[in-house]
């Protein structure tokens, strides 16, 4: 259907009898629609579908090998690496600890992690502001964690971008340090909404700061009613025992479920 000359429309001006009493052959140029006519094609694909497929593959690998995986996210400087080093020192005698480190540049964090006794692999994301499940899959090929190992993925320090990218982890820990302000969960709700556990770090500094711990908890609850909330100081070690105990409980629960799945299979 051509909207400008009305061709093809019945009873239109072109289907005419002229007043002067004779019919003549109607001549006008028809457009050649075939070459440029547009059509609609349905796609219905989500831009995160492929990441979800890779995440699902990673999750399958973790389940199969009983590898308990924690994805740690936070803004830069909230103490992810310091907490990780403290965790490794406490856990390394009992379990093989593996760490995938995501940073834009340098292998400084991987060096700190290795010194603490964990097996580490650094991904320099370059321009990327987050890790995705595909990168983690390749890191796993290099790192090759042992069965029953503990794996921590230290994501790029960023409270926005990593939120949307499932890596296949069992738990997502969002760190928040008391030097950042208690309103952070409200300012970056997507990340806090995705957390399985929120770790409030640097609590040893509370006496020197105007940080309202109670309000911080309330803010977390407004965004996420299910997440575990843990308070600690990775530097002094206060609260570390409770954190590790909770983490071990989650790991035991995961291992039990994975073992049951093995039996069913």
């Amino acid at each position: 259907m051509c909207g400008t000359c009305g061709c093809g429309q019945p009873d239109s001006k072109q289907d005419h009898e002229h007043r002067h009493g004779h019919q003549h052959e109607h001549q006008h140029e028809h457009h050649h629609h075939g070459e440029t006519e547009s059509r609609r094609v349905s796609v219905e694909m989500d831009l995160l579908d492929q990441n979800r497929a890779y995440a699902s593959k990673n999750r399958g690998y973790f389940n199969q090998h009983h590898i308990f995986t924690l994805n740690m996210v936070s803004s830069p400087g909230s103490g992810k690496t310091t907490l990780l080093v403290a965790m490794i020192r406490a856990l390394v005698d009992r379990v093989e600890v593996n760490v995938i480190e995501g940073d834009q540049q340098t292998s400084l964090d991987a060096e700190r992690i290795s010194e603490a006794g964990a097996r580490a692999h650094q991904i320099n994301t370059g321009q990327m502001c987050h890790l995705d499940a595909h990168m983690v899959g390749h890191a796993l090929e290099v790192l090759a964690p042992a069965d029953n190992a503990f794996l921590v993925i230290e994501n790029v320090g960023n409270l926005i971008c990593p939120a949307a990218f499932d890596l296949g982890e069992q738990l997502r820990a969002v760190l928040l340090s008391v030097t950042e302000g208690e309103d952070k969960p409200l300012k970056y709700p997507d990340m806090f909404a995705s957390a399985s556990v929120v770790v409030i770090n640097k609590c040893d500094l509370l006496p020197y700061l105007d940080f309202d711990l109670h309000r911080c908890r309330e803010n977390i609850r407004r965004i996420n009613s299910d997440a575990e909330i843990v308070e600690l100081s990775a530097t002094t070690g206060a609260g570390m025992d409770a954190w590790l105990q909770w983490l071990n409980g989650e790991r035991d629960r995961f291992t039990t479920t994975a073992t049951e799945q093995d039996v069913e299979a």
Binding site: M45, D46, L47, L48, C129, A164, I223
Partner: protein, 112 residues
């Protein structure tokens, strides 16, 4: 700027579709963007311009924002949620997210 990764993924999907659905030019992309998808439409448009391929050189990007649905914690009313801290229009209580809002989906393309 994870919008850059997502825009690149959109281009990859459209390139793939150009083979399977046989087209050589895209005139328009219709993208559904959930209100809680963590994507800034401005940043996404900026990123898309940076990663356009010849197939998409003239493509218009139409972004349709889709709200999540939630339920009021006070009166139980169901309503659209445009952000996570939405309050109920009737009673003012906070809304609890019940479904959706996370889609970043290519609905359809206008091609030739």
């Amino acid at each position: 700027m994870h919008e850059l990764s997502l825009a690149s993924e959109m281009v990859r999907i459209v390139q793939e579709q150009s083979v399977s659905q046989k087209f050589s030019e895209v005139k328009r992309i219709h993208l559904l963007l959930g209100s809680l998808s963590c994507v800034s439409d401005e940043a996404f448009r900026f990123a898309f311009d940076a990663v356009r391929t010849p197939l998409l050189e003239e493509a218009e990007l139409r972004i349709e924002k889709i709200p999540a649905t939630g339920q009021c914690t006070g009166c139980g009313a169901c309503a659209k949620m445009w952000h996570r801290l939405e309050r109920c229009e009737s009673c003012g209580a906070e809304m609890l997210l019940s479904d959706g809002g996370d889609e970043i989906r290519i609905r359809e393309l206008e091609v030739c």
